[in-house]
Every structure is written in C-alpha cells, then in structure tokens.
Amino acid sequence: MSSVIRATDWRVATVAAIAPETPRAATLTLDVPGWDGHRAGQHLDVRLTAEDGYRAQRSYSIASAPEDGRPMITVEELFDGEVSPWFVQVAREGDEFEVRGPFGGWFVWDAGDTEPIMLIAGGSGLVPLMSMLRHRRNAGSETPAKLLVSAREADDVLYARELERIGVEVVLTYTRRAPRDWTGYTRRVDRAMLQEVALFGGRTYICGPTTFVETVANHLVALGEAPAQIRTERFGGG
C-alpha cells in the first residue's frame, strides 16, 4: 500500500482558521494531511458534498506563500454563487471539505526567477499574485516588481493594509467608487493607464475575470509586449 498521496487525489481538508478580508471575502487556513508545499501562483480544487450526495467543485488560488506553512485560500462571495457563499458565510473552524492539488506550472513565480515582474489583478485575481508577492518578500528578493489592482471600491481591495508594506509599488484603480480625497485612477484598466504604469520587458502576470484578463493582455501586446512573456489566469464564477 502506497503512502504517497498524489496531488491528484482528493483528500479531506479541515478549516483551521477563518478570517474576514473584506465585507465579502474571507481567508481560510487549511489543515491538509500530507501537504507537501506549493509554488506561488498555484491553485487548489475544492469539492463540497451535501447530505443528499450533491457535489460541487471549484478552483481557488492559494493566497499564502510556499514558506508560510499551511495553505490559505481567499474566497470572495459571488452574487448568486453556490459554493463561495459557503466559504464566506457558513464555514467555521473544524469544518471539512475535500481538496485536490496544488496545480499549475505555468502561472507560477519562484524567487529564483530574476526577470522583472508586472502583476495585474482584477478583483479577486489578486489572490495568486499576493502569494507571489508574499513569497518575494519572504525570500528578500530584489527582483523589480510592481502591482496594478483594479477594484470596484476600497472595500473590495483584498489585503489592503498588507499591500502597503509588501515591498513593491502598488497602483490602484477604482471602477465604481473611489474613496474621498482619492487622487488616483478611477476607471477600468485601459491602454493609456498601462502605458503609464506597467513595467515592460520582463514577465507579466494577469489574473481576474476573463474579459478583464483578455482586455489587459490585448492592450499589452498592442503596446509591444511579447505574448510569450504574458502569463494569464482567468477566473470563472460560483
């Protein structure tokens, strides 16, 4: 009998801790038996089974850095969602569900990578990028990096306080309502904004809803970035 748990096997995760991030998002720390670490940017598949046998499956990016020990996921509750409301509203310490993974070898960043990185997040697309930035900070890396976050309003920005001391320049743009006294961007990410803000010539990571990711990627290519240097991860609903 093999004692090796493959990343592809479903295993039971226990909620070790849960903390709100924003009014609509929470971060859960998970105890996963046999957890063997992960790379910054990877995700977990989760599976919830109801008493009548009904099952739902989703993917969530790991928010914690590889060296932070137990994996943490940040889940944002989607309007009319089926799974995300469970994580944000119902879950409590000791609850169990199944996980599989971690997965992903493309949308990852390791502190040993020395190319400058431009990180662009749409809403909860910030989660895997935060894993990368935490990893970068933990490693004491001096790789040039910059983060652009698009959020509806201030209440929606994940990790807002931690971003102030994450060690890279963070540019925010609010698309619905800006805080009072805000002098920064107040619109969707567009070509002019990218031209002013983005780090070019290194590697770019874009994460968020599909339309956001594709719009931003298309702009960057139009601005001369090589498509092969742009890594994307599109989020769905639920």
Binding site: V12, A50, E51, W86, V90, A91, F97
Partner: protein, 198 residues
C-alpha cells in the same frame, strides 16, 4: 464525506412535468463548447442534404418566408436543469421536409463552429422538431443559438443544436460532438438516456 451546512442552491421537488433527476431553473443557463459564431444573415443558409430524395437550401430571406409556428415547450438539459413553458418561433422540420422523403433513418444536425449532434429521424418529424429563430417574443440571441437553432424539446437539450445550418440524413447513426464523448445517441429525458448504454 459530507460538508456541514452545504446544500445545492436549487429545488429539486419532483413533479409530473420534471423528468427524473432534473430541477426547475428560472434562468436560462448559457453553456457552450466554444465561442459564439457570428454568421452574417446574408451569408446564412439552411441545408437539407445527404440521404434524401432531393437536397434543399434556403437563404435567410427564403427561410423567413416559410410558414412558421410558435411552440411553447418544456426543455430539459442533461446537466439537470429544466425550464417550463419556453416560447419559440420558427419553422417545423416537417415543413422543411415537405415532399422530400428521408432515405436514411438517422440525421446529423450541423452548426456553425463545427458542432454536430445525431438523432433518429422519427425524433425530428411528426411535429416534434423546429428550426427556431425567435425566443420569448424576440429574435433568438447569439448566446442562445441565434440566428437559428434546432429545437427538439422531447429530447435532452444538447440535441437542440445552436447555430444550426442544416440537417444531414444518413443510413447509419454517426455520433456527434457530445455523443463521441459518451453521451446518448437518442437522449430521452423521461428514460434518463444521458450516457451511452443508459
């Protein structure tokens, strides 16, 4: 194992009108295997071809001139959602086949974007199928299959091919896009014919 406090979002109270394993959906989910095709109406044609006495083609204008009907039907998706009393506007397949005898027992519906689905001929004749271009009193939207889709409501909804461009009749069944991936060749929701061998 089960997760405390988790349950499905929808109600699956069975009723006379819900086939086994289905739940009643109020929205209209959009599920696609690919991008929404964009076919200009002046390029759109509908073809009847293959094992038939006589092949036929209509342009959009010619198609619009055909006698149309407004069926109100329940629809059932194999992913378990059902919707009652959906209203459509379009041309009965019987009208399209008027005076043309299919020579084979099977038909493949083919669509823009490459989608195909296979059915027995008797499941698209006798008032059981339409090619529809209107939904809920309006033009059929592209994401729901517009300009026109097949409508075969007595079978699971994947047989109602979106963006349909024609019917190809055959003597032998030829599994289509989902059927080659294990879904049923006929797909009767009342017999729960979801997968091959059901």
């Amino acid at each position: 194992m089960t997760t405390r406090g988790f349950h499905r979002k929808r109600d699956t109270t069975p009723g006379d009108r819900l086939p086994p394993g289905q739940y009643l959906e109020r929205g209209f989910p959009v599920l696609s295997a690919g991008p929404t095709p964009e076919t200009a109406l002046d390029e759109w044609t509908f073809r009847i071809a293959g094992a038939v006495e006589e092949e036929r083609t209509w342009t959009w204008e010619e198609f619009q001139a055909l006698e149309s009907e407004t069926p109100t039907v329940d629809i059932h998706c194999v992913t378990t959602w059902s919707k009652f009393d959906t209203t459509w506007e379009g041309v009965s397949v019987d009208t399209l086949l008027e005076g043309v005898e299919p020579l084979g027992g099977y038909v493949t519906a083919f669509s823009d974007g490459g989608y195909t689905t296979n059915l027995p001929v008797e499941d698209i004749t006798g008032g059981r199928a339409w090619v529809v271009y209107g939904f809920d009193g309006d033009d059929l939207e592209p994401e729901h299959g517009g300009p026109a889709r097949l409508l075969v409501p007595h079978l699971y909804f994947w047989k109602s091919a979106k963006w349909v461009r024609g019917l190809y009749f055959r003597e032998e069944d030829d599994p289509g896009f989902w059927e080659t991936l294990g879904y049923h060749d006929r797909g009767d929701p009342w017999l729960e014919q979801r997968y091959q061998g059901d």
